[in-house]
Amino acid sequence: MTLSTNLALAIITKTKTYGVFSMVRIEFLGPIQKASIELEASSLRDVANQLHHDKEVREWLETAAVAVNDTLVASLDTPLKAGDKVSLLPPVCGG
């Protein structure tokens, strides 16, 4: 194989890994008045894209933090697998 063939394969592999769409659950916490939903997604980017079409949720995307399986995450490239739980956490005020 040539170097460029290797590179092409690597890209295909990567695309494939990120390309597996699985069913994940989206939970809306605190004041977001919405029952949880299920979506097909391979990464948080897919979740973001789909939630932008949801009028009720869109306004919260600016200020909500995101957790995957109860761990806060910082990258849209965070991969998702079947059964993962994605939580949206709006601004907090304990105490």
Partner: protein
Amino acid sequence: MVELYDGALDVPTILQRWYEEEAMSNYGAYIPFIGTVRAEDEIDGLSFDIYEPILASWFDAWQQRAKEAGALVKMAHSRGDVPLHHSSYIAAVFSPKRRVALETIDLFVEDFKASAPIWKYDLKDGERIYAKDRSTPISGSGLLKG
């Protein structure tokens, strides 16, 4: 472990229990912070939602951080409705050292305000209104805004 209670906290009982729990631990300083619902903006009280799994991991991380500083943290919080002049929150630090205790209670309470997954609502004329203006976006928020 964070202690969660339905409704207002029994402050004297919790303060006493924590004091007695650590009576023989040889800490020299014990600093509780007690948060009480103030009468303002004509509210009848406050109400709280808590997302427990992330609160637990936030608190565990703090317990570790406190331990490395030579301190111990405890916390209690209300779920649901808390009337005026009742308390909804107690955070406490124990340490052998006064400076560590004073600095840790400050950092702990401020980080709690900024990060703990708890949502506050004003109770007003029978309604439960999200306290949006007093709330703080958690660090890293806006990830999904695209």
